[in-house]
Amino acid sequence: MALTRDLAVQSFQMLLVVLLAPLVTGLVRKMKARLLRRRGPPLIQPYRDLIRLLHKEVVLANNASWLFRAAPYLIFAATWVAAALVPTFATGLMFNWTADLIALVALLGSARFFLALAGMDVGTSFGGIGSSREVMIASLAEPAMIMIVFSLALLAGTTQLSGIAQYMLSSNVGLRVTLGLAAISLVMVGIAENARIPVDNPATHLELTMVHEAMILEYSGRHLALIELSASLKLLVYLSLIACIFLPWGMAPARDTWNYFAIGAGAYAAKLVAGCIALAVFETAIAKMRVFRVPAFLGAALMLGLLGALFLFVSRGF
């Protein structure tokens, strides 16, 4: 009975993140539009876009290889597995011991690896510029993320996400400098990784500074639908990650009754909405930066993360 319930919760969570992801993107777009005093597209517009793309034919460039066609599935799979590992409304997911936070970072890294390769496959200058900038951003964002993982793992005594969430829910967390630094750093990394303003602009095509949109320029039809869905999913992963680590309240504990799950789901929805609003406000309030200012931005995230980890290393044993 417990096993079936665990399996059901895990499957529900996997399904939930896929179904919810476009809604999150839609919500951010709507919010941004409202802040600019536009009416904006309806909330379900991303779903409509995906369905429209699925019904279109795929136009492949003449020299696109098998990698170009396989990459969307690989990218989606890697992002989906990463999303399945992040506790959303309940801790103690069935398969949370499969991979820890380091593996989660590496899984998102795999998705990016194949996306950057796909950008170079057709051999256009736009694809190349996107891939080249994407790996430059990743080369600073990934170490920053690992430093955040170090801080959290040292505090919680495990790199397992469920363990970290349980530690954060417990009473012995307190107010810590390290956690503050890690939170700021994680938000900065999240903004860069999801190609949001001020690092990249998700709303434009054919702008000279674009990164993510340049890589996927040659995609169309169902392939593009998958890539768009993976991008939304990645945004959801980061929002859930921030919520799970820094705002764990309301999450249903492991092995508990159904009504706790209901509370957990409600809390999760509230956290997502809050995250979307915060992101929309931030993106509206700030201007996009030049691409060569990005290393300074991410370098700051890396240094904050390192500083947080260093505090912990040095403060042990007093």
């Binding site: 799979a77 200058s125 430093m147």
Partner: protein, 668 residues
């Protein structure tokens, strides 16, 4: 028994070398020698593997070498593990050589040395006294030098050979002095005697420094790496694979054997010194690789990075061992040893791939390649697996050893020393940085050479390589996947080696449910490569199935969109240089003193715009260039001594004698 089999295999390698000398230029020589070395390596590998798995030790003494000592040989779990790595690499390189060797214009310059090189590497690992060890070490260096200059008509290869032999002699010299100090005044050259005789703290530190110079220069630790990116690519590709994938591991073996086994109990600052060296080596190696456009040199620079990662693991193990923390020490050492194996697998694979590219196109420069995935699909797939593995992407093997190193770093706040507490997180950041940069580098390597459109006619006419080469690549690609999804078995196999060196090993992994791995017993962290692999495969198939069920299946081929302005010329693609430009700009100004000059013609004129990049290798210009100038200067001055009269020579001899006697008189 096992030692005897291994020694017979070494003898068989020598016989193969002798036969190839006799056959000289005959066409059958290539097939015969590579066939023979494949079989012998497989046998030697199987012997070593049984030895490792059954945790056996064996030794023997042959009446060779110094008359009063003989030559001792010994197998324990550590040497058995390195014999497995050496002979696995050797076997695959021989298999690859069966196909690749057919294109060799001068087989008589490669074959004898190839077989002897395999024998030399085996002998280093088998040796059980300092004399045999040094003899085998120098033999291995000289033979590999002969392989580096096998195509000696090229000026670059000659230069590479010159730098290599200088650094190799210097390294052996340092090791010789190190063993001299270890042997003490009584001159015990047997490893058994050295083990029981610990030098004082001061001499231990000097020995450690000498070993770092000797083994470190062979492994490619920065700043002793300068020969490596010159020499490894100069050799034929299967020899490059051996030098990069295997010979650097023999150097790691020498380092482990001396510091962990012979030198006695470690001090904490040894670990710190090695950690910092490893961290700097890892990041510098990958930055050098990112700036490189030559496919084989890029891979050689990446070897430096991976050696850095291995030394980070070794440094952590020493630091834990010095503080009597057996479980974390075992974890760190296992991570380093697993990375030794992993790197041997994917680096050999990548060099085989680079060799296939050279065979098919005649080009090593990535700027002249492109689009090879269409013409060499199987090579491209194997190369992609190697790229993903070396970039530490789950569920492949590179990620496992890196994950274990991170877990070891996370255990280090318990270390009591302040220096280590500052150093370890900094090294952790360097490790993370090098991993991310490695992924960037291999997106570049694969993207520019295999994807896109062909940049030259040679790349356009490339053909898939022969079956032997492809099967050698397939073996290693399969190993990369296998070690990634079932790491528990590989970790368990390393248990005897860490047990032998540290007296502790990681918890048994193969008994854990679902083949997960855990770093230490009390840990709540775990990783499961098998399930990650299954999950990725499942979700990819589910999404593919769902998409094909729901979505339109229509597909049309058309010219590339490219923002509406496609350009037919493949020159408009991103090149390797332009791909690494952002990273060059971020890191390069500091590390390479990069200067970029852009000359734009005035509007209306028809001259082309020019872009020029100036890179400076700081380590060369700060360390090696002044040294080389000083040596040239002093040898020019000393040259005067060659042209003196006989009276001056006699007076010189006389004054030297007087000075010597004075020194002795004062000394007493």
């Amino acid at each position: 028994m096992e030692v005897d089999v291994s020694l017979w295999c070494v003898l068989a390698f020598f016989v193969a070398a002798a036969i190839s000398v006799c056959l000289s230029k005959r066409a059958a020589a290539t097939a015969l020698v590579y066939g023979a070395t494949t079989v012998i390596s497989a046998l030697a590998c199987a012997t070593a593997l049984t030895c490792l798995l059954n945790n056996q030790t064996a030794s023997t003494k042959l009446p060779l070498g110094l008359p009063w000592m003989g030559a001792s040989f010994h197998i324990d779990p550590l040497s058995a593990f390195f014999l497995v790595v050496v002979n696995l690499g050797a076997g695959a390189a021989s298999l690859y050589g069966l196909g690749y060797g057919r294109h060799e214009p001068f087989p008589e310059r490669v074959l004898p040395f190839f077989a002897a090189f395999l024998a030399g590497m085996n002998l280093v690992v088998l040796a059980d006294d300092a004399f045999t060890f040094l003899l085998a070490w120098e033999f291995m260096s000289l033979i590999s030098w002969a392989l580096v200059v096998s195509h000696h008509r090229s000026q670059d290869n000659l230069h590479a050979g010159y730098v290599y032999i200088l650094m190799a002699s210097f390294g052996t010299f340092a090791l010789l002095l190190g063993y001299g100090l270890l042997a003490g005044t009584a001159g015990h050259y047997d490893f058994e005697a050295i083990r029981s005789n610990h030098p004082s703290a001061f001499y231990s530190a000097i020995v450690l420094g000498l070993v770092l110079l000797g083994a470190g220069s062979k492994a490619g630790l920065i700043p002793l790496h300068v020969w490596l990116p010159l020499a490894h690519p100069a050799a034929p590709s299967h020899v490059s694979a051996l030098m990069s994938g295997v010979m650097t591991k023999v150097a790691v073996y020498a380092f482990i054997r001396i510091t962990f086994d012979l030198l006695g109990p470690p001090t904490w600052w040894w670990g710190m010194a090695i950690l910092l060296l490893g961290g700097i080596t890892a990041v510098m190696g990958v930055l050098y690789a990112l700036m490189e456009h030559d496919l084989k040199r890029l891979l050689a620079y990446h070897t430096i990075e991976n050696i850095g990662i291995i030394f980070i693991g070794l440094g952590l193990a020493l630091a834990f061992e010095a503080n009597h923390m057996p479980a974390p020490a075992a974890l760190a050492l296992t991570a380093a040893l697993l990375h030794v194996f992993n790197h041997a697998a994917f680096k050999s694979l990548l060099f085989f791939g680079a060799g296939a590219v050279v065979t098919a196109t005649g080009e090593r420069d990535m700027e002249h390649l492109g689009g090879l995935i269409h013409r060499m699909p199987q090579t491209a797939f194997a190369f992609l697996v190697g790229c993903a593995a070396i970039s530490a992407l789950p569920p492949l093997n590179g990620f496992v050893s890196e994950w274990m190193t991170f877990q070891a770093i996370l255990l280090s706040p318990q270390l009591p020393q302040w220096g280590l507490r500052f150093a370890v997180p900094a090294v952790g950041a360097l490790l993370a940085l090098s991993a991310a940069l490695a992924a960037a580098c291999f997106v570049k390597a694969f993207g520019v050479s295999f994807l896109g459109r062909p940049r030259t006619a040679a790349a356009e006419k490339a053909k898939e390589v022969d079956g032997f080469s492809r099967s050698a690549m397939a073996v290693f690609a399969a190993l990369c996947v296998l070690a990634g999804i079932l790491p528990g078995f590989f970790i368990d196999a390393l248990g005897p080696a860490t047990q032998h060196l540290l007296g502790s090993s990681m918890p048994a992994q193969s008994t854990i449910a679902w083949f997960s791995i855990v770093p230490i017993n009390q840990s709540r962290s775990s990783y499961n490569g098998l399930l990650v692999f299954i999950f990725i495969a499942l979700s990819a198939s589910i999404s593919a199935y769902a998409i094909h069920l729901l979505a339109s299946k229509a597909k049309r081929r058309a010219p590339a969109w490219d923002g509406g302005f496609p350009d037919a010329s493949p020159l408009t693609q991103y090149t390797a240089g332009s791909f690494s430009q952002p990273i060059r700009r971020v890191f390069g100004t500091l590390v390479f003193r990069v200067r970029e000059e852009v000359t734009m013609p005035l509007p209306g004129t028809t001259q082309p715009a020019k872009h020029h990049v100036d890179l400076e290798d700081i380590i060369w210009s700060v360390l090696y260039a002044p040294l080389s100038r000083a040596i040239t200067y002093s040898s020019d001055r000393l040259n005067v001594l060659q042209f003196l009269t006989i009276r001056r020579y006699l007076s010189l001899v006389f004054s030297a004698l007087v000075v010597l006697l004075l020194v002795i008189a004062i000394w007493h």
